[in-house]
């Protein structure tokens, strides 16, 4: 995706806004529109644009219009083509995915089945970065794919990398995507909003259900899924891994936090993931580090100070160079 694509993405996201807020969004300079990652609407507050280095209040001719409940409802009506009731499963999870892949987080009154009385929206502008996965895939898998975990803090581009790695891998392998939150492929009535190559996508449903369905019906070499959070999801992954399937998934947090998360500690101990990718945002640029499993821990090697090594659970992971 180049700058023109990012600009187009901003335009389609801002196009969801009612007219008075739309004018405020387009008061941003061209470079800011390209850089804009989120548009945040909060009831009774001015609209904000989240840029790379902070956020900016959006104004129309100097005045910052405050967001009304009607504005929030209009955005959702535009995003769902006046059919919010058809997005029941997504709304239950607190989001709605608009055409173009823009994910709109929804806050309000949660009834257990849906969200009502909307109080704020977060329009995350979809940006696909095609090609960022190519180098990572080449470095990580000289002898074939191995189950991989992408670990990074929120907002640095895990899902963007996950998506592009899935796209790259799908050119030579059977790759299935369990897209529980419609973030990876953002499938709608018109198909996937993102370029995911030759992947087969199962959207919605829990990860554990999706993994079992995909194993039974799509014969995947690799299953791609976003963060594993539930015990039953981890169980499904372990069962599928023992039947020969590999996985590519993400973790919100640093690689060191893997040890503190019971689900991931177990997956590491079972030896499911033998590759790790970390992402750091350094001066606005993403840096990808890749690690390969280097064997089980022992007391002697633990005493060795090694900056290019991760120690997770009962295994070492050594940093790979180009």
């Amino acid at each position: 995706m180049d700058k023109r694509d990012f600009l187009k993405s901003f335009h389609t996201a801002a196009g969801l806004l009612p007219e008075r807020l739309w004018r405020a969004a387009f008061s941003l300079e061209r470079e800011q529109q390209i850089e804009c990652e989120e548009l945040r609407l909060r009831l009774g507050r001015p609209m904000l644009a989240l840029l790379g280095d902070g956020s900016e209040v959006l104004r129309d001719n100097g005045a910052a219009p405050t967001v009304t409940r009607e504005d929030l409802e209009t955005v959702l009506a535009n995003a769902t083509k006046s059919s919010l009731h058809t997005y029941g499963q997504q709304l239950k999870r607190g989001f709605v995915t608009a055409d173009g892949g823009h994910r709109i987080g929804v806050c309000g009154e949660y009834t257990g089945e849906t969200v009502r009385a909307f109080s704020s929206l977060n329009i995350r502008i979809a940006k696909q970065m095609t090609g960022i996965g190519d180098g990572v895939v080449k470095r990580l898998y000289p002898e074939g794919f191995e189950s991989t975990l992408i670990a990074a803090p929120p907002g640095v581009g895990k899902t963007t990398l996950l998506r592009d790695m899935a796209r790259t891998l799908s050119m030579t392998m059977n790759v299935s995507v369990a897209d529980e939150r419609y973030e990876i492929a953002a499938c709608g009535t018109g198909g996937a909003a993102f370029d995911i190559g030759m992947c087969d996508v199962l959207s919605g449903g829990s990860k554990s259900e999706a993994v079992e369905m995909l194993i039974r019906s799509m014969r995947p070499d690799v299953i791609v899924l976003d963060e594993i959070t539930a015990e039953e999801d981890a169980e499904a992954v372990i069962r599928a891994a023992y039947s020969g399937c590999s996985f590519l998934t993400a973790l919100h947090g640093s690689a060191e936090e893997l040890d503190r998360r019971m689900i991931y500690r177990r997956l590491m101990q079972e030896g499911i993931f033998t590759r790790i990718v970390t992402i750091e945002n350094i001066g606005g640029k993403r840096q990808y580090r890749t690690y390969a499993s280097g064997g089980e821990r022992n007391a002697e090697n633990d005493r060795i100070d090694n900056d290019s090594r991760l120690v997770l659970g009962n295994r070492y992971f050594h940093e790979q160079s180009d």
């Binding site: 009506a77 083509k81 006046s82 059919s83 009731h85 058809t86």
Partner: protein, 161 residues
């Protein structure tokens, strides 16, 4: 001429009541179908607008216009409905009927299915109650209006002569 004019007024009042009854029945049926499509089939709005065609009458024409406007102008359902609001009065409904219908239409596609159903039900209760009242009025007074019109016309004509 005078007799004719007064007769026409009386007959016209009778027709206006019948037209309103016909339109109320049509819109009540349409709202019931819309509610069912939303609650049971989660049908997207453009699709559920097509199903109102089967009802016929004023509502079918109204929703057809909204559907066409949504397609040609790429606007929202609510924007298209507001643009066609004048049609409700032209179809014989009064201001209160229009207000109730628009109260229901405001919710279409805007909220979750259960909330839309609640709002549409509230509008339907008002419209159904009003339909009963107007049907009773028509039964009692419809012919009276026509007869009064004709009688008034004859009396006036005789007075002039």
């Amino acid at each position: 001429m005078i007799a004719g004019s007064c007769s026409a007024i009386g007959i016209s009042m009778n027709r206006a009541i019948k037209k309103r009854i016909s339109s109320l029945r049509s819109f009540i049926s349409a709202l019931q179908i819309i509610k069912a499509e939303i609650v049971f089939r989660s049908a997207p709005v453009p699709q559920l607008l097509e199903t109102t065609d089967e009802i016929g009458g004023a509502a079918a024409e109204f929703f057809k216009r909204i559907g066409e406007r949504m397609q040609t102008r790429s606007g929202s359902f609510w924007q298209a409905a507001q643009h066609e609001a004048h049609f409700l009065m032209e179809s014989g409904l009064n201001a209160s009927d229009s207000k109730n219908i628009f109260h229901a239409l405001y919710s279409v596609g805007r909220y979750d299915a259960a909330m839309q159903a609640d709002i549409i039900n509230a509008a339907l209760r008002h419209l159904e109650s009003e339909l009963k009242r107007v049907e009773a009025e028509a039964a009692q007074k419809g012919r009276v209006y026509s007869a009064m019109g004709i009688t008034a016309g004859i009396v006036l004509a005789l007075a002039v002569i």
